[in-house]
Amino acid sequence: MLRRFSLGKALALALTTFLPAAACTDEPPTAAGGELFPGGRVPSTFEVVLPADSFAQRLGVFSGYTGPRDVSYLLVANRFDGTLDAHVLARLSEFPATVTYTRGGTTRTDSIAAFGSGNLFVRIDTLASTAAGPLELQVWEVGETYHPGSASWQFAVDTVGGRVPWREPGGTRGVLLSRLTLAANARQQGDSLLIPLDSVAVQRIARSGFPGLLITAAGAQGRLQTLGSVSLRTGAHPRGATPDTTIATTVEAATQVFVYNPDQPTGSEAYEAGGIRSARTLFRVNLPAAVPVCREGGCTRIPLRDVTLNEVSLLFRPSTVPGGFRPVGPVQLVVRRVAEPALGRRAPLGEAINDIAGVDTRGNAIFAGVRFAPGDTVFTIPITAFITRSVQSDSTGASLALLADPGLLLGDPAAIPFSAAWFQPAPRLRILFTLPERPVLP
């Protein structure tokens, strides 16, 4: 005889018994090897590399968007690549007249009797610094008055009110305050650099009306790039304290700039990007309507919109950058859209089109600059997503700009590289694509 057993209890028991099992996840049986592919069909992938004359048109190179006052670093160079010289002009803030210190548990503010010896302190960007041999840094008192906002290699003052050339191009040297020899490889010096100044030099710098510091380089060919500004670290002697009392004091730079010679070269047939003048090359990419596919049965052309674009990349071959502006470290480059290329130098830039590098915490795409490193024989810029969108929207091409724009990645517009990247005037377009292979019923 059956006992009473309600269907409600049955449901509860059934769910309790089987639901955990239903929640299990598993993978379908997966074989390795091509035997199981229906009909033996697998996708076919091809690559074509288009020469410049079939897709690219160089519209022009423009520069002069930035200068040494737009960056946060300083550059000292001595005949780098046999050509480039660069000097730093810096004025320090007014030295303090009083100092506050604690003695015997009592805080005192006292006037300063004198300053002791000290050091000029800078941080070195070792990736952007190089020298063929020992490089001597020399710190001078500027030998004539200059205008920090307009001084250049040729002019101490270059304003609408008039031009005053330096008596000595690159900054007239006055009294030599200090010198320091760096080993051939600045990287071994560490990130921090201290240039010693004796107390006489410090007192000279501290005096009212000091015209400024001029930092130059001599010796081997090379360049030294800083991170951030120059500061003076010295010791102040309070007037009411014992003679051996020294209070550490730091005086920051009030103005600083570097002047260089020659100016960033341009006007070649190359595709130029970057440098202290922020060169950019405008060019147009015309998309092919079809891509060639050659198999055993012969060749045919397949419409671009009928294939899957696995990768579309611009390929550039580097060329020599003259004037000491060659990259000594990685340079981040990007490709951005240009809506109105006819405006030339003033053509506004659109969005970056090179493939994204990731997504930030807010879900926004990060368009990383593509790193061009010295020694690269081919510079590849993937633009797959942009070209795919263009094909899907029946666009036949786009005007683009190649430029250095590290601010996109680093969030620091001041991180404009001093070096420029040049490429031969014949970029290629590499298209890696897969032919459609649709599943069919058995």
Partner: protein, 408 residues
């Protein structure tokens, strides 16, 4: 007579189970042989039938397997059966071996006696499984670089059978049954290629990930069918049963929104004949036998591009031993064996003998609880597939657990 509210509750249970089934649908894969023809045939058997080698009809007391529509006539009360079935398989192709596990609900069945002679049921059972995947690795040599290539074909889905049955007891020893079947399901096929250029040169830069190529299509399967069966117990010691089922054309059609270039196709659902018998050879033991023939060769032309099909057949035998029949609680023990000739060719049509077979040894344990109001049937099955000229060999362990609840 069953009360209406009980019927509603029972239907609720059925739909809850159907929800479970649909949730587990993507996990209903069990064999790489699902890659051939219309898939892997998975008969909707309960734990008792599995424990007896696959004998799904002609058993004392009837049952809830979807083989014989007349089997439900022997049920003494409303019944609900849910079957759960995990698989552990090992597939071997030349040069590669794959292991894995799957789980599914191959059978859900609710039966309702109406009066003393009529019994009706609704059921959901497995039919064709097309869930499987294959991967292939290669390299693509291009000027200046070599790309790693991974191709993958993945098929998800299958065809299931929804059945409404009615059985009538002509006498206490003779019953007939008929059912209407709705074959329904969908299959989503995806073919993809992944290209990997290797290690990215910088974390900050474009990592060089290449856009994968991916092509997909999804088809729905629909058809209707019917089956009829008879169950006859000429004596207390002997049960005989036979059933036949068939269907209209199985129509595979691209699902709207899927690949616009996909085209549909029609397949023949074959006639299938089942016979089964069981006899009590000792007071505590029965021997059960069953055979099945299915005319899949009717679909040979439909499946010519996929290798074709042949008529399939199956024989199964089992022994059930229950020493505690007098007690309210009983725990029958079962042993069985089965051999099946699978219908779909593995290789091309030039491979004449590339039709695989399946053989299995089974064991089972039942538990009759609460005075017969709750039945638990557990079966373990060790099987092998392959043979002929097919290069694929599989072995598997399969467990089948059925919980049957009877109410008043």
């Amino acid at each position: 007579m069953i009360k209406p509210n009980r019927t509603l509750r029972a239907l609720g249970v059925l739909f809850a189970g159907a929800a479970l089934l649909s949730g587990a649908g993507s996990a209903a894969a069990q064999s790489l042989f699902a890659s051939r023809g219309l898939g892997y045939l998975n008969p909707p058997l309960d734990g008792r039938a599995r424990g007896l080698g696959g004998v799904g009809l002609g058993l004392p007391g009837g049952g809830l397997s979807l083989v014989n529509p007349a089997a439900i006539a022997a049920l003494p009360a409303p019944a609900l059966g849910v079957t759960f079935q995990p698989d552990f398989y090992n597939s071997r192709l030349p040069g590669s071996e794959t292991e894995g596990s799957t789980a599914r609900f191959p059978l859900l069945h609710a039966a309702f006696p109406l009066g003393t002679r009529w019994t009706t049921s609704v059921a959901y059972g497995s039919y064709l499984d097309q869930t499987w995947a294959a991967e292939r690795s290669d390299s693509l040599r291009l000027p200046g670089r070599t790309l790693a290539v991974t191709d993958r074909f993945a098929s998800h889905g299958g065809v299931t059978r929804l059945r409404v049955s009615g059985a009538y007891s002509l006498t206490e020893r003779l019953a007939i049954g008929v059912s209407a079947d709705l074959y329904t399901g969908s299959v989503r096929d995806t073919l993809s290629r992944r290209l990997d250029p290797g290690v990215p040169d910088s974390l900050l830069l474009n990592t060089g990930v290449l856009v994968p190529a991916r092509y997909g299509a999804e088809w729905s399967y629909r058809s209707v069918g019917a089956s009829a069966g008879v169950r006859w117990a000429p004596s207390d010691a002997l049960n005989l049963a036979a059933a036949v089922s068939g269907g209209a054309t199985l129509k595979a059609r691209p699902i709207e929104g899927s690949d616009s270039l996909a085209v549909g196709k029609d397949y023949t659902i074959p006639l299938t004949f089942d016979v089964g018998a069981s006899g009590r050879v000792t007071p505590s033991a029965i021997v059960a036998l069953a055979a099945q023939w299915s005319g899949w060769s009717a679909a040979n032309d439909d499946l010519a591009s996929a290798g074709g099909a042949r008529d399939s057949w199956m024989v199964a035998a089992g022994v059930e031993w229950d020493a505690s029949q007098a007690d309210e609680r009983s725990f029958p023990v079962r042993l069985g064996a089965r051999y099946s000739a699978l219908p779909f060719r593995w290789g091309s049509t030039q491979d004449g003998n590339a039709f695989p077979g399946e053989r299995a040894l089974t064991a089972g344990l039942g538990a009759r609880l609460a005075g017969g109001a709750a039945l638990v049937d557990l079966a373990a099955e060790r099987g092998w597939r392959g043979g002929g000229d097919s290069v694929l060999d599989e072995s598997y362990w399969r467990a089948t657990l059925t919980l049957t609840l009877l109410g008043r």
